[in-house]
Amino acid sequence: MERADLELRNTTYRQFANLGRAPSANEVADALGVSLQAVQEGWERLHEAHALVLDHEAGELLMANPFSGRETNYIVYTGDRRWFANCAWDAFGIGAALGVDSVIETDCPDCADPIRLTVTDGVPDDGDSTFHVLVPAARWWDDIVHT
């Protein structure tokens, strides 16, 4: 990864964490003092490198894993902030990336009952919750939205 793309990626992630939401391409361009086109082209390269995931139609961020640019069924609370995660794995990753404890809320895909987990120092307080990955690891990036 080229140094400029690494800086773009790190600024994008830093802004995501600071704003509590996905930054727009314009916001990242302003932060870096570069053109909107430079950000959009750099994001395309980062998308190809699996460093983030773009919504090509909207021209904006879909995922900066573990953070989601859209509202999802995996909601993560850290202090007074609320985040959306792309999946269960990412939901645990948000507290890990921020280096803080977290509360994860979602619904059971089987019964739709709510699941609420508190993760303290990396340890979840629910011993029964069970994580399932359908797609083998070698095929995750065939369609990262559906794994």
Partner: protein, 70 residues
């Protein structure tokens, strides 16, 4: 990548279909910490495939299901 209330709920949801991989919430938290823990580090660099495979192996995820491929 879904979270169920329990393995019983997962099995009911699968309805006889073959499962993929199943982890406890604690295993998932350990995996997420190892996988995502450096994402906001100022000196972050992309993980290589080998690095990521070592993370999986270090957590005992050595089944072919967890092989990241070429």
């Amino acid at each position: 990548m879904l979270l169920f209330r329990s393995e019983e709920h997962l099995n009911r949801w699968l309805a006889g279909r073959a499962p993929g991989a199943v982890l406890s919430a604690r295993q998932l938290s350990d995996l997420a910490t190892a996988w995502w823990g450096d994402r906001l580090a100022s000196d972050w660099k992309p993980h290589t495939r080998e690095q990521n495979q070592r993370i999986l192996e270090g957590l005992g995820l050595i089944d072919p299901f967890w092989n990241l491929g070429p």
